[in-house]
């Protein structure tokens, strides 16, 4: 692996931004594709919105969480999930690139491989997903009676949620460096677990699930912890863990991807 000490954060950021802008330019060439994908992403959220609304028409609360609080929980997760499609969608192709030996020439370029891989696509469903997710979060925020004074906490939670989700997806897609296959099954399982379980209050689940989601694979810090702090279900001290979880997730993503590149032996070996 070629490692260049001149890879400053500014240079890496510049490469990332230029690659992303190139993808956005490509999107504008395919407007039908954009609208189909953005609508598909929005649909997922609209149905999630409908699920919560139907559920709360039958019950007043779930484990002490009321309708608007649950909307915030689901909304924050979908914003984070949609952002991965907009910011690092290419990592879903890690498995295919490893199988086909397509990492080779990316290793010879003067930019981190993970940045190059992450910017090979933009998942246009992310526009619809993040948009409706933000609406759900905002609607839940207003309905739950939260004041604007809590906005800095909300923004911190939002930024950290996006960072943690992007980093964890990168980690789970990088598993394909060792367990070869075109599909990122581990990342799919992670997202499936989150979309099934993490849009519900953590108190519903056994202690083992709570420990794993808080301290092993910190998916609880994506949406549960920030929303629980905002709505008073958890003490404000828990908020300290959110940026720490984001930092740990980013370090894990960089570390696991580097280890993966070390074990990468191109195609046909």
């Amino acid at each position: 692996m070629v490692r260049d000490k001149s890879l400053t954060a500014r240079h890496v950021g510049g490469v990332y931004w230029r690659a992303l802008v190139a993808q956005i330019r490509a999107i504008t060439e395919y407007p039908a594709d954009f609208w189909v994908m953005a609508s598909a992403g929005a649909m997922w959220n609209v149905l999630q919105f409908a699920f919560i609304t139907v559920l709360f028409a039958a019950v007043p609360d779930v484990a002490g969480w009321r309708y608007h609080e649950m909307l915030m929980l689901s909304g924050l997760f979908t914003v984070a999930s949609g952002s991965t499609a907009l910011l690092v969608d290419g990592v879903w192709s890690t498995g295919q690139m490893v199988l086909k030996g397509e990492i080779d020439y990316r290793m010879t370029r003067p930019a981190p491989v993970v940045v190059q891989v992450a910017t090979t696509h933009i998942g246009m469903q992310g526009f619809g997903e993040s948009g409706i997710g933000l609406l759900m979060f905002a609607y839940g925020w207003i309905g739950a009676g939260l004041s604007l004074a809590a906005l800095p906490i909300g923004l911190l939670g939002l930024v950290c949620a996006i960072v943690i989700e992007c980093a964890l997806i990168t980690v789970f897609c990088a598993v394909n460096f060792w367990i070869k296959g075109p599909m990122s099954n581990f990342a799919f399982v992670l997202v499936d677990l989150q979309s099934n379980a993490m849009v519900l209050p953590l108190g519903l689940f056994p202690i083992g699930v709570r420990i794993v989601t808080l301290f092993v694979i910190p998916v609880a810090f994506v949406n549960f912890v920030p929303v629980a702090v905002l709505t008073g279900h958890l003490s404000a001290w828990w908020l300290v863990g959110t940026p720490l979880a984001a930092l740990a997730a980013v370090l894990a993503a960089v570390g696991v991807f580097r280890l993966g590149l070390r074990s990468y032996d191109s195609a046909g070996h």
């Binding site: 039908a32 598909a40 649909m43 997922w44 149905l47 999630q48 696509h121 469903q125 677990l193």
Partner: protein, 262 residues
């Protein structure tokens, strides 16, 4: 069914069972959903009932949802989509094989490979969670027929979803949209009985409802024998309807295929 169909199905079946991890993942996907469903509904129902479901009936409902979801989401959606996205479809057009029929055979072959995992997972769930028994022996038999209809229904819906790849560059978002439509309108996320009447009406007018609500309603005796036979007829009608819908849309979208700038 011709020997060619069997050959396509067999190839996909063998390819799927060659990857043991695929079995584990197919159970894991449904497993999370089942466990999350059990956690939330046990909390909500407690000792009472909701929408006509008491706790044993809801356990049966969720386990049927797990079984049908494991089957429905084990098909070769990505293989079909990639044929269109990477241009293989152009080569398929030169072959003396009907594209839709070949993909159907492959899809059913792929789904069949998930049957052992789905059955084992369901048996384990039944042993651990003790769901309500079927309303009668006849209801149990008709439930099995209803579950079998998921094979053509899943193909029909997935095929229509993959055809959108003629106008899109990526399939991931389409797949998630399709999966969420199935999950919501089938009643996997929340039973139809809890939905407002107008939403129930929309759900019953769509094919997705036959993935969970139909087999669960037959199993739990929420419909009588005539009602069960009517639901099976609706499943058969949707299977045929989706097939011809696929043919119609294919005929229009295939004109968009371009081969390296041609």
């Amino acid at each position: 069914m011709s020997s060619l169909d069997v050959a396509f199905a067999t190839v996909t079946f063998k390819r799927k069972i060659a990857y043991k991890t695929t079995w584990i993942f197919s159970v894991l996907f449904g497993g999370w959903s089942l466990l999350a469903g059990l956690a939330v509904w046990s909390h909500i129902i407690g000792d009472g009932e909701i929408g006509g479901y008491d706790w044993p009936a809801m356990r049966a409902y969720l386990i049927i949802g797990f079984l049908t979801a494991t089957l429905a989401w084990s098909g070769s959606d990505w293989e079909m989509a990639n044929r269109i996205l990477d241009g293989h479809v152009a080569i398929d057009l030169t072959k003396p094989v009907d594209f839709q029929r070949a993909r159907a055979a492959e899809y059913i072959g792929g789904m069949t490979a998930s049957v052992p995992a789905a059955v084992l997972g369901t048996a384990a769930a039944c042993l651990i969670f003790r769901p309500a028994p079927p309303a009668s022996v006849l209801a149990a038999a008709l439930t099995i027929v209803s579950v079998l209809f998921i094979f053509p229904l899943a193909f029909g819906i997935s095929y229509l979803a993959t055809l959108t790849c003629f106008v899109t560059q990526r399939f991931l978002g389409i797949q998630w949209a399709k999966d969420s439509l199935v999950a919501f309108f089938s009643g996997m996320m929340v039973p139809l009985a809890l939905m407002p009447v107008w939403l129930q009406g929309i759900s019953w007018a769509l094919p997705f409802v036959h993935f969970t609500t139909t087999p669960a309603s037959i199993y739990l005796g929420r419909v009588d024998t005539a009602g069960a036979l009517g639901l099976l007829a609706a499943q058969a009608a949707w299977s045929v309807g989706l097939w011809y819908m696929g043919r119609l849309i294919w005929g229009r979208l295939v004109k968009k295929v371009t081969i390296h700038g041609g």
